[in-house]
Amino acid sequence: MTMLHTINKSPFENNALSSALKHAQKGDAILLIEDGVYGALKGTTASGDIWARRVDLRFYVLSADLSARGLAKGQLIEGLNLIDYAGFVDLVTTHKSSQAWL
């Protein structure tokens, strides 16, 4: 029973990402949207949290929100998947439930 976790805040603003990572189960998907995309940047003090779970979780970044902030794939932690809104819809339908970490 896999779950989709959505995070819409930067890890430098609140602890939504770290809370989600602590609760997510093997096979779950983590989707970073809105300011949550800052959590996908490599080389930050928060990058290690995602890197530590890269094997048992799958990570997705909403590309529109990434480019809106002037960020590009080359700046992200390796192994993350860029998706569009259609991909977001697919993640919702292919997981049993979704949890917004607000």
Partner: protein
Amino acid sequence: MKISILVNEGPYTHQASDSAYQFTKAALEKGHEVFRVFFYNDGVNNGTRLTVPPQDDRNIQKNWSELAEKHKLDLVVCIAAAQRRGILDEGEAKRHGKGDGAANIAPGFRISGLGQLIEMGIESDRLVVFGD
């Protein structure tokens, strides 16, 4: 698949209303049924027809109303949250003695209760939440 959406944040606040709109549009384009969009807390401010954003900015309320018309969407505004924030339909404006023309619920939206949120949770295959 039957999908419902909950919007907890007002328009032009952060990004939740925009994200919810884009998600709803994408779900419809993929052929899914959007059972209902429920606006709660400051999210009810998506449903006032009195918003007049600058012409070069997106009009979030109008986007919702047009999407609702095109796809026969059920856009529901929480009544208690709406009354606190001055969102009224004809019936509520009259009931509270606010005078003629005070109703400001936007086209395509309707005011109802939390039961509608519970129902959409039961009736839908998926519930997706957008907020602050």
